[in-house]
Symmetry: C2
Amino acid sequence: MDSAAFVSGPAAPPCAPRLAQRISSFKAAAPSSNKTQSSRVIAPQYLLRSTASTGVRMGVASPSKVSLMELFVEPSKLAAAKTEAESLPKVALSEIDLQWVHVLSEGWAAPLKGFMREDEYVQSLHFNCIRGENGELVNQSVPIVLAVDEAKKAEIESSGNACALVDPSGSTIAILRNCEFYTHYKEERVARTFGLTDKRHPYAEKIYEAGNVLLGGDLEVFERIRYNDGLDEYRLTPKELMAEYEKRGADAVFFFQLRNPVHNGHALLMQDTRRQLLERGFKNPLLVVHQIGGAVKGDDVPLKERIMQNKAVMEEGILDPESTILGIFPSPMLYAGPTEVQWHAKARMNAGCQFYIVGRDPAGMKHPEHGEDMYDPWHGKKALTYAPGLEKLEILPFRVAAYDKSVGKMAFFDPSRAGDFLFISGSKMRAYARDGEMPPAGFMGEKAWKILVDYYASL
Amino acid sequence: MDSAAFVSGPAAPPCAPRLAQRISSFKAAAPSSNKTQSSRVIAPQYLLRSTASTGVRMGVASPSKVSLMELFVEPSKLAAAKTEAESLPKVALSEIDLQWVHVLSEGWAAPLKGFMREDEYVQSLHFNCIRGENGELVNQSVPIVLAVDEAKKAEIESSGNACALVDPSGSTIAILRNCEFYTHYKEERVARTFGLTDKRHPYAEKIYEAGNVLLGGDLEVFERIRYNDGLDEYRLTPKELMAEYEKRGADAVFFFQLRNPVHNGHALLMQDTRRQLLERGFKNPLLVVHQIGGAVKGDDVPLKERIMQNKAVMEEGILDPESTILGIFPSPMLYAGPTEVQWHAKARMNAGCQFYIVGRDPAGMKHPEHGEDMYDPWHGKKALTYAPGLEKLEILPFRVAAYDKSVGKMAFFDPSRAGDFLFISGSKMRAYARDGEMPPAGFMGEKAWKILVDYYASL
């Protein structure tokens, strides 16, 4: 998603047969009726299985042990843990380190029990998945690691292999136990995660600046991570999301990952997905509009403005508040394209997501050297389709939406009358907002648009 | 393996618990007796399964449909195929392309049916494995792709999407059908395969020089690939190897991958593995000493000298000719470390290999920029241990061998008397041979050593 529908580009190319089958299976696997046609192509078994396991038979996401794993210290042991932490070596967390502690603590990265040990890291880097307790493959495409320097390693090793984690404000927030150290091969990590080694890539830059040692261990977090920025109420944990589905009586949950404002093209995709789920027989599909909450690159719209804008979209009724939850995903943004989109999907699966919408060039960005797309814009969708450990998630590719001048609103792009469509890229949209210009009527709700204009005026 | 035992370095660090378990399970899973101790650590289920499925119960590798897939044109259709090829657009193969045609044609890369299509490529690049027909994960860690330029793409597209492949000598050797084209993102391919983007890496260099379009399709090879270099008799196909196991009545098959001469440290490892397999109850374990037959970097010993040297080692009785097969693996060398070692293992699994020996820094090399190891020397072993699609292969990590001055022969390194040991690196060995100096007695068989000396004298 991300900048997906803002990015100008051609319509989706013809899908490979298997992918097409996956797409068509989405439509075909209706519980109520029309389990019909469309099958001269034989669907591979695993796609059929996948559809079956994510279809209506499953109903609402059922809280499982794994997906609700949290890494908080039990309240009865909290005082003792805090006292113990005082005597431990301290590791100062960067802003992004803290966001990963947040992610880990609430179970988005389950079954990870803390920052990765070397065996987990090697698997994540090479396979984008790791072996669970029983040898099963669990998707984990991005390494979640903590870098320290040699001096800190020596200090922790000589103090019983545990340390206290201190957030950027100076508060001790967690203990990391049974520490394990291994070499931080930065260039290799960057290469395998991002498909480049350029130091100007926004997340790679932070890797190159980090310590030369990686520190894995078991994480025990004292209390829920809060930022007191007025947005904490949107930072629902997987557990809280599960409770919300229950409360609203949802029988299907689909997620829309964002690091952008919502325009009417996005809204169209979400509405259309809901329509399809209803057609398949679900009675109460619930949409989670899920904004990236962690660090984003400088030219992305800040979290606060995105949330305000998203709220306005719901208030304007463009997204139905009854069947929509607005939430924040505490992960930083990596800009790792096909590698990262798996993380986006897997983390949401841990929050009960059954259907995940993916578009063009998810988590992509322009190459810092030559300015072209870093990734083939359709590799993200392909990676999601085949990713080990995501078999139970149904991937919903979306059609490209653009501004249809013939009707004055966002609509699915129809290549047979391409001239009617206007692609409004992210930079185009920002230019409109910055210059106080109105985009074409029907591009975005008025109230929502004003929030962006005000933001850019404030810069 | 490769330069493994030549490389000077410390003894293996303490293994992570799971890895240790895998090692100890090798020893514990004896069919005859002593299924004993050593298990305070609980082995994850998949490791137990793995051991079970590769243990004695399986006996000799049984030729399966997949592992014996060949891509040769049926003799009855050969004349027609050759006639057809004359009218098709021609794609000129590089030396390495030809080696990949060789690999594909004999089924080493089964179930690949030709050069990778985009869906296979994306999976290989991101997961080091691809989905088989039934959704199962098949290991395929290195992309096997064919690069062409835009003009060739246009030519093939306008001629019915098939082309003829022409080897470097000008002979048409195969047809590629149902062609599919996709963009060759070279930097990303290099980054994800090698963990760097440096253009001086020997295989990366060839990728950067190649065309901008990748061409996938179904391969139909006219005849067995021959090089007429006096070594073709060692280029046994998986089918021929299987027949040889049968003929020799082997009940276990283990492989030793090499791109180096065999010194007595290597021999010790192979002998010791045989001893362990006999102890586990196998009656007739068969060793395949398997030299990389494709392109290697400039300072590696050429194939001809390696084979002559290996033959001498067998003639000198250092390796028992009765229980050893000397063979050539037609793949080029990639120098892709933990990524490539999976390919080395998977290809051999397709040739009936049940036990695969892995050492320090398999398929590693020095970084072209700073001269340090490109990879953590133990990541190859870790990757093999966890790799999706290699569950049925039992990985046998080996102990580091070095020259033990106290007894005047190669022996397993004993860190408690480190001073007794001399590590003779690859460059050290080459320096000895180049300068006509003798290495310490017991380092290598005399006849075998002379072959190296003669080779270096000829340079």
